[in-house]
Symmetry: C2
Subunit: 239 residues, 2 copies
């Protein structure tokens, strides 16, 4: 059976048997991680990267005053800590939101794959670039959009990302995020998130309830969010 990562990469770069085999080798030793575990701690020495196979995780930074900013939610098929393969330390932390299945990817192994299979290397660099583009979009979202639009944007984006790994359809998707985590991602308080979610529901756009996001009117929701999916589904450059 194809992994989420293979499914995602395959949507943008046609992968041959050799690439699929190399990917399968990278994901060969899955490990269980219970919900709540911190996988990588900010400024931790070492260069560990993971491929997330099942479950949801958080990338976040903590502030001296106790505040937390969620940089991104990670879903199956995503990397975690790819950057720390290059830098000595990771600049943010990762924690398991649900029980996870991950594979740890040794840095040297990944670099070796790049050299042997340039097409795979390109695909993975594309994934890394896409991750950065998502952070930029998140920055725009927090910096310049109202709480309502901002929330809508995040919900739309998660849906699109999950579609790539067949975990969402046109109805909605399962989403184990709670309102506190959502607030820390959106730069809001949980209380205000609650009110915004209610507003989205009462506007007939989307409901967020019991671990499930259900679209009521996806076109209007996307219009409100002003979401351009370009940075998510753009084809990679021909190698």
């Amino acid at each position: 059976m194809e992994s989420s990562l293979a499914r995602k990469l395959g949507r943008f770069a046609p992968l041959g048997a050799a690439e699929l085999a190399a990917l399968a080798a990278l994901e060969a030793k899955p490990r269980q991680v219970p919900a709540g575990t911190e996988l990588v701690h900010e400024r931790q020495i070492g260069h560990r990267a993971f491929i997330l196979q099942q479950g949801w995780a958080l990338a976040y930074k903590l502030l001296p005053d106790g505040g937390r900013q969620v940089i991104d939610f990670r879903v199956p098929g995503d990397f975690m800590g790819l950057r720390s393969v290059l830098l000595r330390t990771s600049d943010h932390s990762f924690a398991a939101l649900t029980d996870l299945v991950v594979s740890e990817v040794p840095a040297d192994r990944m670099i070796a794959s790049f050299n042997e299979l340039p097409r795979l290397g390109t695909a993975i660099l594309w994934a890394a670039s896409r991750d950065e583009a998502m952070v930029v979009e998140h920055l725009v979202n927090i910096g310049r959009r109202s709480a309502l639009v901002r929330t809508a944007h995040l919900l739309v984006e998660l849906g699109l990302r999950l579609q790539l790994v067949d975990m969402a359809d046109t109805e909605g998707y399962d989403c184990p995020i709670n309102q506190y985590q959502l607030a820390d991602a959106l730069g809001l308080t949980a209380i205000h998130v609650n009110r915004v979610l209610r507003q989205l529901r009462e506007l007939g756009l989307v409901t967020f309830r019991d671990g499930r996001v259900t679209y009521q009117d996806l076109p209007r929701l996307r219009r409100l969010a002003g979401h351009h999916s370009g940075y998510l589904d753009q084809a990679i450059r021909a190698p």
Copy 2:
């Protein structure tokens, strides 16, 4: 004379004669760009990357409602559009804040340099990683810090970045940003930025006036900003 990029990379990775020569070749054909020019337009097809040699530039995204979010200020020694070498299009725009001197770096040339001089490739990837870490820090800044702290943080960060290329000292630095641009970077209005700058001045921390940032009390300013420079001055991983 050594370029800003060479100076910056040299602080973190010892570069040999071969690497310095390759860098000099990449920067060989400088081009003048007048202030106000848009170098790369969002979603533009093509993969152009530039090395900024002199002057300041903006990386930003425009919103449908006319708003603008400044992702980052680019200073001498920085790349612009490195990501677009991988993706078909760039996901944000670049504009010249002042008159610039830039070198356009052909994608194939850069990739060739990587293969011939892995140490240089590592150094440049380190620079790209650092850029991403700065975006993440910016996200935290906007999402979870007050206007006062946020502004202090940006001013401190710019100073540290400029120090790497000998364009700042312990007194302060020249800074051609106006209050509108600062506002678009901080997710505030220019009017409020004005008040925050006054507050910083009246607190005896820093002045921002006539294109010059002057520290009044750098230690207190850094304490207020809660600035961890780790992501800026961290050594790169040994190749």
